[in-house]
Amino acid sequence: MPLKSIVVTAIIAFAAGLVFASFAGYELFIPGLLEGTWITIKITLGGALLAVVAAFIAALAKMYGPAPIRWLATCYIEVFRGTSALVQLFWLFFVLPQLGVTLSPMMSAILALGLNIGAYGAEVVRGGINGVSRDQWEATIALNMSRPLALRRIILPQAFIAMIPPWGNLFIELLKSTSLVSLITISDLTFRAQQMNQATFRTLEIFTLVLLIYLGISLLITFGMRALERIATGGIVRGRAS
């Protein structure tokens, strides 16, 4: 979205937050919500890290791996994109222990959400690499570079820039999907919201505030990715400006 509307939304959200936070008795639920926010941020960061790693491995395996590895990567991508994130989460949380593997709820959460977003990310990585023009590959052949070298030094750095905006969207999807972990007993922001709601019955204030907190984190992600894009395109944009 355009920068101006981000800023406007941020200001409105901040003002609305102030209004709600200034209601009497906010001290009843604010600390709980902040603790939940921290858990949400931790899961988002862990999931994002896993997603990026999984996406790059899966995409490169699918594009350049030998046949069996290619199929494996395709299976991973299709299964995690084709089933629902909540199903994956429940599968890790309820089914795995019955198969003899018990993960902590936090581990299940990061694993399920990270692998889920990673499967979508793999397509982003693939799209980014395919988006680099054939001319660049031909130049690397003419300079006698090996394929891995060309990929690492020439193709990926250019693909990386094109991948930043779609990754920003995926990170926001990840943040949004972290709310699902409340359903496997993790006391994230969503879990706390329900808990506080049952304790205080300040339903409107609590859920509005929680929505605003999620919006705030989304905006942070958007800003962060924009900054990253600016840094990454530094050389190229500088060139274009003249």
């Binding site: 031909e138 003419a142 006698n144 570079m145 020439i154 050389g235 060139g239």
Partner: protein, 254 residues
């Protein structure tokens, strides 16, 4: 130095190169001219291993390019062998194909460092020398986007030369340039023709340059060499009707 022996290339039903034989001596400068679709660019692209060969063999410095000897016969080359032969060849493209995320200097040192294994200092020394030679000694830290087309193409020439190839391929290197920038690129090519012991194959539409610079001119028509000879003969007294038609059309236009 380079020998095409019965080389054929097809795209589906279309035969782009038909049983081509071409022998290029060391340090010979061959200009390839002809109407578009006559297969002239394909000659260079096959030599650079950018296209597969459907039939026939290309030899570079006596070694088969896309095939290797195995048990007395020729089999399709593997990547390792291909890379060892390909090191003799450098190419400059119509659309420059510079690496946009690297400075001019890095464009010219990337492959020498990572492919040839030169130490960074030596690679930079070599790159600076070449860039100064093509008149870009003051642009080392620039990114390609800030350069004019002519400057970009000169960087591309320096980048290819930094790999110390024995054979240089020029694929319509002035076709994407504004007319006033053509001269600087041709001058760069002229100069390195004098400075280095290079075999050159160039596909070009610059008839004047071909006439002055080349040792031999090949006129391609429908996937074959229709007529070849020293420039004076081809340009002043072409024997075949197609050649005459093509040249008069080109000269009339430009």
């Amino acid at each position: 130095m380079v020998r095409f022996s019965g080389v054929t290339k097809r795209y589906g039903d279309l035969t782009v190169l038909d049983n081509l034989d071409l022998d290029v001596a060391p340090q010979e400068k061959v200009a390839i001219i002809g109407p578009s679709g006559s297969g002239k660019t394909t000659v260079l692209r096959m030599l650079m291993t950018l296209e597969r060969i459907d039939d026939g063999v290309i030899y570079v410095d006596g070694r088969p390019l896309t095939h290797m000897e195995s048990n007395g016969g020729l089999v399709r080359a593997n990547e390792k062998y291909l890379r060892s032969v390909r090191g003799d060849i450098g190419m400059v493209f119509q659309h420059f194909n510079l690496f946009p995320h690297m400075t001019v200097l890095r464009n010219c040192t990337e492959a020498p460092i990572n492919v040839l294994g030169l130490p960074k200092a030596q690679a930079e020394e070599r790159a600076v020398e070449l860039l100064e030679l093509v008149g870009l000694g003051d642009k080392l830290g620039e990114y390609p986007q800030r350069l004019s087309g002519g400057q970009k193409q000169r960087v591309a020439i320096a980048r290819a030369l930094a790999m110390r190839p024995k054979v240089m391929l020029f694929d319509e290197v002035t076709s994407a340039l504004d007319p006033e920038l053509v001269g600087e690129v041709l001058n760069a090519i002229r100069m390195l023709g004098k400075q280095f012991q290079l075999t050159m194959l160039m596909v070009t539409h610059q008839m004047g340059f071909a006439k002055e610079f080349a040792d031999r001119v090949c006129f391609f028509y429908e996937g074959k060499i229709h007529e070849e000879g020293p420039p004076e003969q081809i340009f002043n007294a072409p024997e075949r009707e197609r050649t005459q038609q093509f040249l008069s059309a080109v000269l009339e236009a430009g």
